[in-house]
Symmetry: C2
Subunit: 256 residues, 2 copies
DNA sequence: TCACAAGGTTGATGTGAATCAATCCCCCTT
DNA sequence: AAGGGGGATTGATTCACATCAACCTTGTGA
């Protein structure tokens, strides 16, 4: 049984993010509890600093990488957010995920040596570039890094299974409710309000992710608002009745 | 762009499986090209034999593990096949995958230490039990094992993304066509006929995997048969026009 | 300040797949 | 060989979401 909010798997307790500035090293990074270095001992963590080959800025709407690009590194999000998607030859797009600070991008490339999806910045963003050969090397010696990396990949698999459940077995409003609860949980983990946040993606992108058309997403938002579950104003969301949303996810009031 | 058949990511050339019998060790196993030891040098491969703590038989319909079970090991399928699924509290089931010989099970457990899905044998089957702590340990020393393990996890992520595409963006007959092509490809990789095979799962399980009802699956099979694309007799499938199926996946004859 | 464009909302209508329901078929057991 | 049961097929009907279309809102740049 998976609770609705577990679409992304959480490995840590919430950690408020103090916006102290732009330290470069993992050992100084306020995101480390959400990121790859989590669980690594203090004595080892300084050795991680050599892991981050560079930081890279990606402008809104620009790709971090594209399908077919050679795989060389994975990326940890420092600031901003991204979407990943897969395209079919006839132009159909499937958004496979939205990623926030501390999350790891690029894992799709390891298997074949080529990236198998596109990753696009939803806003001006910055990532840490983690050389994959270097990561493999360090994972062999640093206690915990190997394990944490495996955890990150495993969590991605579990997350993907939850999305399959969502796409394969839930109706439109259940999907959107699960999506909102998931976003809420992830904002919370980053020290933001659980009940009030700003969505970085369009209705169309949400729809693509949830296997719905943008009109359906819009209607579901409106309906939730009528029911007093949320307050929507464009991309700004306020959750008024989180429990109500949770009930919606689980059985849609006993229907079906 | 992903071709339809890449729902499972293939890391190797087809390898005919000679049914020589039940050697226990990886170094002797005829599946190794499909499995975790792939890509590991001859000198190292004998060291893998200590990896497999035990073999375990699982009877048809019996679970290999269930949601919530503590994670201790991953499993490589020696004989038989499995399905994995996720259950919602109201009883809805989503099949997240079907697994065949050489494929790895249990990766969902690493992240949280608990398994997050059920894995059920579709027929009497046998798996190699790979102790996870042992795997981590050996991955640190054996050139290639670490990398191959990462590849396996990455391929699982890529596969999951293809399923999302399927569930989120394709119509019923496209989904079934993609499913059949994928099965065909995987049977081929195991030395079986690309055009004629026996499905181990029910229409309902196929439907759950594809986000469809069993009646819809049945109708789609019948329709493919009318169109001369396949010949179906219960679980026995013969592909008559693979190209036709591929065209179906990509644009449903230009529709939409 | 205005105008435009992109994104979002809302309504009317169409349709693909779900649902409900009635057999049918095959395999398994006795 | 007969009986039973799970799985599969097929048909009639319903319904959730897609599609088509009009309009609104907000942010942006001249």
């Amino acid at each position: 049984m998976i609770p609705s909010e577990s679409v992304y798997c959480q490995m840590k307790a919430p950690a408020p993010v103090t916006p102290t500035g732009l330290k470069k090293a993992c050992s100084q990074c306020n995101l480390f509890e959400l990121c790859l270095p989590f669980g690594i001992s203090d004595s080892d963590i300084v050795r991680l600093d050599e892991l981050v080959a560079a930081q890279r800025k990606v402008k809104r709407q620009q790709p971090l990488y594209r399908t077919g690009d050679p795989f060389e590194a994975i990326y940890a999000i420092r600031t901003g957010s991204f979407k990943s998607d897969v395209l079919l030859e006839d132009g159909r797009e499937q958004v496979t995920g939205f990623q926030m600070t501390g999350e790891i991008l690029g894992l799709d490339g390891i298997g074949t040596g080529l990236h198998s999806c596109n990753v696009i910045a939803l806003e001006d963003s910055e990532v840490c570039v983690i050389s994959y050969p270097k990561l493999e090397e360090l994972a062999r010696v640093i206690e915990g890094l190997q394990h944490q990396f495996h955890k990150v990949m495993s969590c991605e698999i579990v997350r993907d299974h939850s999305v399959m459940m969502l796409l394969g077995s839930m109706r439109a409003e259940e999907r959107l409710a699960a999506f909102l609860l998931n976003m809420s949980q992830r904002f919370t983990a980053r020290g933001f309000s659980p009940t009030e946040f700003h969505l970085r993606m369009t209705r169309e992108e949400i729809g693509s992710y949830l296997g719905l058309k943008l009109e359906t997403v819009s209607r579901a938002f409106s309906h939730f608002q009528e029911e007093g579950l949320i307050a929507v104003q464009q991309k700004h969301i306020r959750i008024l009745d989180g429990e109500g949303l949770k009930k919606l996810v689980q059985h849609q009031a006993g229907t079906r």
